[in-house]
């Protein structure tokens, strides 16, 4: 463990030093980025490698296959218990004597604020921009399947969490890997848990931090004009520091309240635009279905639409990654499986509702150019994406689509992106911290070390152009999924026993609603 600790600290130091040096000596930028890319390249290439002869990344296949297996294994739990999940969130089954504990609603909202973000706004635009409207169909399919993955991991997260004497809790994949494997008499649980924790820390510092800081800066700079990223970084780091180290809960509370409001406003604006173009709804869905199976001329045809849809859903709702299992473990319930039911709403809200809204607005406002003669989509000059009205892609495509109906919306969207980025950072600082304390143990100083490192990475993320580092961080998040899904295959029978027991007690009336 000591050897491992040294290696790990050296890796952190290397990560810290590389971009910092790049900032101090701009001439070295390319060399350092290149050195880092060379060092991490094989890992990144491995995670995002396509199946031979296709552009389909195997990691996306890994997540979709897992989601399908869990859907079949639990006999479409996401459909059978959807209504029950909503009842649980409403508090119908909550014992009034437990009032004051973390409610199902709170656990769901906290987990959602970690996943709803850039993936829903920029990611969908990329998917529809490349894969065409048909990508939306496959995105919805993947979102619906992903609900079963979330159900499995979050049930286990609560079942195997650690409850300490002082009343605090720690849970997540690292705990169900080590405790669950021990319980079943399987070897290797601890190794998986350590691997998962390492990837989780890297993912938290990268995708959950640097990438968010970087994108938030891009949004602010897009409105105010360009200025050095380290300024945004320092401000963000200061706020994050005040929240996670200083315990300044008021800022976190304001964000946690504003983010759901922004999410609702985003969906409401999308609905208004869709209703304003009500006559085109039928046409838009026609495009989505036709595109899903024919491609309608997009690059890669039907397979292209499928890849983009699946990929975006997997990247957006994190089903199978294991992060949500950490967030959901805090809920206090006598039945771990109830948290699994609640968590299956997460990919539904994130992907099936919010991502679909983004896609529909882009399609319905006709941002994608159709060839009037053939009725198929025209490709851009590079031939790698559909031509758009102003040549937009990514977040600017979503912004243009909403802006075509409300000219003030791009400003609101920019604020939303910044707030989403901030709330994602707060969530991931916690996920990373839990992985960190799993490896190094709980304790004020140990936790402080991670929190300070996290804040330093906010500045680096906002300041530097760190393509290779961000690639590496994204790869780390998906590496979490490799380890997590592997463990879930071994532990899913535990969830099935819980499900059978709960379902029979629900049917017999032993578990019933409380009168409120």
């Amino acid at each position: 463990m000591t050897m491992f600790k040294h290696l790990w600290l050296a890796a952190i130091a290397a990560l810290l030093a590389a971009p910092a040096m790049a900032q101090e000596a701009p001439g070295l930028d390319d060399k350092i980025n290149q050195a880092f890319a060379d060092f991490t390249g094989p890992f990144v290439s491995f995670i995002f490698a396509p199946f031979p002869g296709t552009g389909f990344p195997w990691i996306v296949g890994w997540l979709v296959v897992a989601a399908t297996v869990f859907t079949l294994y639990f006999a479409f739990v996401q459909l059978r218990f959807f209504g029950h999940a909503i009842s649980l969130v409403k508090g119908d089954y909550s014992d009034p004597n437990d009032a004051g504990e973390v409610s199902h609603f709170q656990a769901l909202a906290t987990a959602l604020s970690g996943t709803v973000g850039l993936g829903n706004i920029a990611g969908v635009a990329v998917a529809v921009g490349i894969g065409g409207p048909g990508a939306t169909f496959w995105m919805i399919v993947a979102g619906l399947l992903g609900m079963a993955s979330k159900f499995t991991e979050c049930t286990l997260g609560v079942k195997y969490r650690n409850e300490y004497e002082d009343g605090t809790v720690s849970g997540g994949p690292m705990y169900y890997m080590s405790k669950g494997f021990d319980e079943l008499g399987l070897p290797g649980g601890k190794i998986l848990a350590v691997l998962f924790s390492i990837f989780c820390i890297l993912g938290a510092l990268g995708g959950g931090n640097m990438f968010q800081a970087n994108q938030a800066h891009q949004q602010i700079a897009g409105i105010t004009g360009d200025y050095p990223g380290w300024i945004t970084g320092l401000v963000f780091a200061g706020i994050v520091f005040a929240v996670i180290v200083g315990g300044l809960k008021s800022i976190a509370r304001v964000t946690e309240k504003v983010v759901p409001f922004m999410g609702v406003m985003y969906v409401a604006a999308a609905l208004v635009i869709i209703i304003m173009n009500a006559d085109q709804i039928g046409w838009a869905f026609g495009q989505i279905f036709a595109g899903a199976f024919t491609g309608l001329g997009v690059a890669g045809g039907m397979v292209g639409a499928l890849i983009q849809g699946f990929r975006r859903a997997a990247f957006s709702n994190e089903a199978g990654v294991g992060s949500a299992a950490i967030a959901h473990s805090a809920v206090r319930t006598k039945e771990p499986i109830t948290e699994g039911f609640v968590s299956l709403l997460e990919p539904f809200i994130d992907t099936v509702v919010i991502c679909t809204m983004t896609a529909l607005v882009i399609i319905i406002t006709q941002q994608l150019i159709v060839d009037p003669e053939t009725g198929k989509y025209m490709l851009n000059e590079a031939g790698n994406a559909i031509a758009t009205v102003d040549g937009n892609s990514g977040v600017s495509l979503t912004s243009a689509a909403f802006g075509s109906a409300f000219n003030w919306f791009p400003y609101v969207l920019a604020i939303a992106v910044v707030l989403f980025a901030f709330s994602t950072m707060i969530s991931w600082s916690y996920y990373g911290l839990k992985a960190w304390t799993y490896l190094f143990g709980e304790g004020h100083t140990k936790e402080l070390v991670f929190k300070v490192i996290f804040c330093i990475f906010v500045v680096i993320g906002a300041a530097a152009n760190l393509g290779p580092v961000i690639d590496f961080s994204d790869a780390a998040i998906f590496a979490m999924a490799v380890v997590n899904v592997f463990a879930l295959y071994f532990l899913m029978k535990v969830v099935r026993e819980e499900l059978a027991s709960y379902a029979s007690r629900l049917k017999s009336g032993e578990i019933r609603k409380f009168e409120h």
């Binding site: 909550s94 309240k257 809920v331 409120h516």
Partner: protein
């Protein structure tokens, strides 16, 4: 049959007046049981950070302990010393709803509360807990000025 009177406390001096009124009423009724209740304002539909969620159970225990030690236990002890049969309850929730629910659960026949202290904008928008209690309670409510 024993009459059960519920006294809702809010940690301010209006609670003292509610207790005084309940004592007077109880001595007139004769066979009477008192239930001292303190509700910690809490909603299951607020938004929290992951860290707040992890610490929630601990905070809840601390809140219940504080309310019990500072408000409910002193009131119960004082009333017991005066010869009344008294129980105390501390629970989280919406003040009006929870006070009513506890009363119904325990077979209370009426609720006595002190007039709510002013609470600015929120009170104007949503009404005070006392107003909500008076409007929606299942048993008679006495508001002591």
């Amino acid at each position: 049959m024993t009459t059960k009177i519920v006294i809702g406390l809010d940690g301010t001096e209006t609670g003292e007046r509610a207790i005084a009124f309940a004592k007077d009423l109880a001595s007139r009724i004769g066979t009477c049981e008192l239930l001292v209740v303190y509700v910690i304002e809490w909603s299951p539909f607020t938004f929290q950070t992951p860290e707040e969620n992890a610490l929630r159970h601990k905070r809840r225990e601390e809140e219940v302990e504080l309310a019990t030690n500072r408000i409910v236990t002193p009131a119960v002890e004082a009333l017991t010393a005066d010869g009344y049969t008294v129980h105390g309850i501390v629970r989280h929730g919406d003040v009006a709803e929870t006070l009513n629910a506890i009363t119904v659960e325990n077979g209370g026949t009426q609720i006595i509360v002190g007039r709510a202290s002013a609470d600015g904008f929120k009170k104007r928008l949503f009404g005070s807990s006392t107003q909500n209690l008076v409007m929606h309670a299942d048993v008679p409510v006495t508001v002591v000025n």
